[in-house]
Each structure stands twice: as C-alpha cells, then as structure tokens.
C-alpha cells in the first residue's frame, strides 16, 4: 500500500477509533479498576482489593435477596420471551400478503419507538393506584375487585408489570431483522425440503426457516440481550422511586445507581457494574453459541 493509502486509511479510521476508545473502552477499563477501590467521589480512590466483591456477595443482603433474583427473573423472561415472541410474530407476518403485513409490522414495531419516559406517563396512568386508573376502573366495573389496587406501589405486582411493559416494547430492530430474514429465504429450499420428506410447518421452522436465517437470528438475539438490560430503569420509572417499593423491582442497574448516585459509593457501584458487564457478556456468549456461524 502506498503512503497515500495509509493516510486515507488513518483519516477514515481515526474518528471512530478515538471516540470508541474514549467513550467505550476507557470507561470499561476505569470501571474495572475502580471496582477494586473505595471511592466516595471526593477523596482519591484507595485500593481495597477484592473487598467490594466480597461485600456484594457476603454482606449485601439486598443484593442477594432481591436484586440478583429480580435481575435473573426479569432477564430470563424478558430476554428469551421477547426473542421468541419476535420470531413467532415475524414468522406469522411472513405468511400474509404485503399490504396488511406492512401495516401490522409498523404497529408491532411502534412501541419500541416510544421513549421510556413517555411510556412511563402512559403506563403510570393505566396502572394508577386510585379508581381513576384505567385498569382499576376496568376491574372494578367488571366486578373483579372492590377497591383500587396500588399496582405500582405493591411488591406483588410491580415485577409483573415491568415484564409486561418491557415485552410490549421489545419488538425493535431485531424483530425487523427477523422479519426480513424469514421473507428472504429462497422458496426452492422449502420445495427441496418437502421432496426430502418434511411434513409440517413445525418441521419446516426447525429444519429450514431457523437455519436459513442464522445471521438475522443472531442479530435478533444480541438486540434482545441489549434491550433487556437497557430496560433496567423501568421499575424506577414506574414506581417513581429508587429503591423500588420493598425492592420488588430492583435490578442491578437500579442498585448501581442507588449506590453510585444516591450514596456516592462509587467503588462499590463500579464493582456492581463489572458484575453487570459479566452478566451481559455471559448472556451474549450463550446467544452466540446458539446462533453464531460455526464455520
């Protein structure tokens, strides 16, 4: 390559690498190193080894009792749930003709366009705790309950509502990728498969559809992991407080914000964020294993 080629390569590459390093790589590195320190944002961080991690595991009752189980339940339902739902909806949409398909796809995609903040407004009114709340009103008029339920303040319902709202908004770009994936599978592959003895739609999905759209399935899986963990703030948004009522909707993200920005224990919060990163990484490894290209 001549020197001119080097020059333009550097010019094209520099902005991305610079920003990527500054705002993604370095923060991750800082998070990892801060997690070994005690840091209250005022004094210089002091090295305390693994204490933060030890404390999270042995001392932090809230974390073990509420935050970790909540995060696991939430992400195991919302992640795979949203993913399977996205695939099934995309597959069904592919079976109908173009006009209605476009309209229905737009409708299914629209919730993911709405901002978390805007959603909190709508959902808060629907689940509002007095009788002017839509759900309460509906249930009372249908005679299921006699007095309004404090949906968003009661530990019993908060997690369920968080899961419903997140699933509702989870048909994002991953869903679009899967839809176009299904649509673009060559018809001839199906024909060949039927000659080879495939009998029903279920076999068709397992043996043809999914393997033929692995790249889109992988992309969808990655987006599902990402959206699941980004939805972390929903409990705080809905209930309007951090910590959430009796920690019912407390996820790692909220716990992290609680310690970092409310109690200013940055070292501890950094250790939590490292755990969260490991968590996400583990999830996406599983996704990669399931849908990644083997070759």
């Amino acid at each position: 390559m001549n020197s001119k080629g080097y020059l333009s390569t550097s010019v094209f590459l520099a902005p991305y690498l610079l920003l990527f390093t500054t705002f993604i790589i370095i923060p991750v590195a800082i998070a990892i190193s801060l997690s070994f320190t005690y840091f209250n944002t005022i004094e210089f961080p002091s090295f305390i080894g693994l204490s933060n991690y030890v404390n999270i595991i042995t001392q932090d009752n809230t974390f073990m009792q509420y935050v970790l189980p909540n995060t696991l339940i939430f992400s195991l339902i919302v992640g795979p749930g949203g993913y399977i739902l996205a695939f099934l909806l995309a597959w069904m949409l592919a079976q109908i003709s173009k006009g209605p398909r476009t309209v229905l796809a737009l409708i299914l995609y629209s919730p993911s366009m709405t901002a978390g903040v805007a959603m909190a407004v709508v959902w808060k009114i629907i689940f509002s705790g007095d009788q002017t709340g839509y759900l309460n009103n509906l249930l009372i008029s249908m005679g299921f309950i006699n007095e309004p339920v404090q949906f968003l303040q009661s530990p019993e319902y908060l997690m369920t509502i968080m899961i419903v709202v997140t699933l509702w908004g989870s048909m994002g770009v991953g869903f679009l990728a899967m839809l176009s994936g299904v649509l673009n599978i060559d018809r001839e592959i199906y024909e060949a498969a039927y000659i080879d003895g495939i009998r029903n739609r279920f076999q068709e999905i397992i043996y043809i559809t999914i393997p033929s759209m692995k790249p889109q399935m992988l992309f969808g899986a990655v987006m599902a992991v990402v959206t699941t963990f980004q939805a972390g703030a929903i409990g705080v948004e809905l209930s309007g407080q951090n910590p959430t009522p009796q920690y019912a909707g407390q996820l790692i993200v909220n716990h992290l914000e609680d310690f970092g920005f409310i109690r200013y224990e940055m070292g501890y919060a950094a250790a939590l964020s490292v755990l969260l990163l490991l968590f996400i990484y583990a999830f996406s490894r599983v996704a990669m294993k399931l849908f990644g290209e083997k070759d």
């Binding site: 590459l13 366009m113 978390g116 839509y134 679009l176 963990f229």
Partner: protein, 292 residues
C-alpha cells in the same frame, strides 16, 4: 409444482388459509397499539376529560390547550419549552449526521483495507456491541468530567457518536460491494475519498438508513445525558424536560398531566415519521446485508 403444498411464505394475495394468522396477529397488534392511540387521544383532551370519572379512553372534544400550556410553560428556573426542543433538535441532527459519517468511514476501511490489529479491533467492537451504557455510567461520568465536557453542549454529542452496532452493520454491507468495482475506479484515477463519496455511500444507503434510525432513537430519547452530565438548565434536552414533567407534577396537578401527555406526543411523533420514511430501506438492509 402441483405436488408442492409447502410453505406460503410471502404470498402475493389474500387466501383464506391466512385467516388463522390474522386471528392471532390482529389481537396482538391491537394490544400493542392501545397505549400509542392513548398517547394521541390523551394529548388532545381538555382538562375535564383528563380527570373525568369514569376515565374515558378516547377524546370527546379535542383541544390544543395542552400544547399551548406546554409552549407557555416555564419551570422554576425560567427555561421555556422551546429552548429544550431547540437543544434536542440541534443535538439530534448533529449526532445522527456524524454517527452515520463516522461509522460509514470506519466501515469502509474495516471492510476494504488492511491494517494492523484490524481483526482484533473488529472483534472488540463486536463484543462492545452488547455492552449497555448503564454498566459504565459511573466511569463515563468521571471521564466526561476529566476531559472537560461536563456541563457543556458537547456532553450530549461526543459520548453517542461511536456506535458499535452501526459499524458492525455497515461493514457487513460494504463487504458485499465487489473489490473489482473499487479497483476499476482506482484505475480511472479515483482516490479513497472519491471512492468513498461516489461509490460506497450511494451503494450502502439502506445501511445508512438503518444507522440513522438507530442513532435518532438513541439520541432523541436520551434523557440520561441531561440528568447526569449537564447541570445548566439551558443546555438540557426535551427528553429530560419530558421526564421532569412526568415526575415533578406526578400526573397529579391538573395542568401537569395534560402537558405531560402533549409532551409525550411530541416525543413520539418524530420517531414515527423517521421510521415510516426510512422503513422500506431498513427492511432492505436487513435482508441483503446478511448480518454475519
């Protein structure tokens, strides 16, 4: 073909065998759209309908009062809504434009050039695709403080520009442009900049549309930057303003709820417009880029 009774994927016209899918899809679609319809309806409700008992879903006597209230509302620090809206629009335009440019430029060299550590860097990028900002929010705060971006307009812009998923998508797309095409251009005397602007950009328009949508959604809906990195009310964005309407007034104050509804509509509509405008291109990207 007579023996083939198999899949009816992507049918040309309606057939009654499709009815079962409509039976499942339409109820789900209705569930999905209810809150959206509600946003529209709620934003136009006059005060007595907002607090009507029993609550009404659809607006009876639509009014623009909520939008007027919102426009004339200033919060405790005296910053008018238009200021937040202006900030949001400027930030969004800059971020979308630069993100698209930066990712496409990097995508080009990652796809068509060789340099040291190319594969390693791309691998790191692929891993970074899965990291969520929430996990690194604290170090990011420290870093933004350190480089002097705290409480400036640029705090809205710089942290959002590197979009791993954007680079990932556009690189895959450029991979599909045959090298011969670029070689031919080079023989005709085109340098990298010519090739980039005259060949690459026009050919990857669908990928660009996708990144534009993703970047738009990320920045337009971002209230976090204003909350964490910016103290000056004059520099905060509409998404932030929206979140204060929702929390400060708690939906309890009479005027607050109407304004919050109107503001959520203002938040939502640009997303919808951008998506409808670019959606056919997006679908195209996903289908042909072969995201591998």
């Amino acid at each position: 073909m007579a023996s083939f009774h198999g899949t009816k994927i992507n049918p040309d016209r309606f057939h009654k065998s499709q009815l079962k899918f409509y039976f499942i899809l339409i109820p789900i679609a209705i569930l999905m759209i209810i809150p959206i319809v509600y946003i529209f309806s709620h934003a136009f409700k006059p005060i007595d309908e907002l607090f009507a008992y029993p609550p009404r879903f659809f607006v009876q006597k639509p009014t623009l009062q909520n939008f007027q209230d919102l426009a004339s509302n200033t919060n405790a620090t005296g910053v008018p809504m238009s200021r937040y809206l202006f900030n949001s629009i400027v930030v969004t335009l800059i971020v979308v434009f630069l993100t698209v440019l930066i990712s496409t430029m990097a995508g080009y060299v990652f796809s068509k050039k060789n340099f040291k550590f190319k594969n390693t860097i791309f691998e790191i990028n692929t891993i970074a695709l899965m990291f969520v900002p929430a996990a690194v929010v604290i170090p990011r705060y420290l870093l933004i403080d350190e480089v002097g971006l705290l409480d400036t307009f640029f705090a809205h812009i710089f942290p959002l520009l590197a979009m791993p998923v954007g680079l990932f998508l556009v690189k895959q797309f450029i991979d599909q442009i045959p090298d011969e095409l670029l070689e031919a251009a080079r023989i005709d005397g085109a340098n990298d900049f010519h090739i980039f602007f005259k060949i690459i950009i026009p050919l990857v328009k669908p990928a660009i549309a996708t990144i534009a949508i993703l970047a738009f959604q990320a920045v337009w809906n971002n209230a976090e930057t204003s909350t964490l990195f910016v103290d000056d009310e004059n520099l905060k964005t509409f998404a932030f303003f929206m979140s204060t309407l929702a929390s400060d007034t708690g939906g309890n104050s009479v005027a607050g709820q109407g304004m919050a509804a109107a503001a959520s509509l203002i938040m939502f509509v640009p997303n919808l417009i951008i998506f409808i405008f670019l959606q056919s291109k997006v679908m195209n990207t996903m289908a042909h880029s072969g995201i591998k």
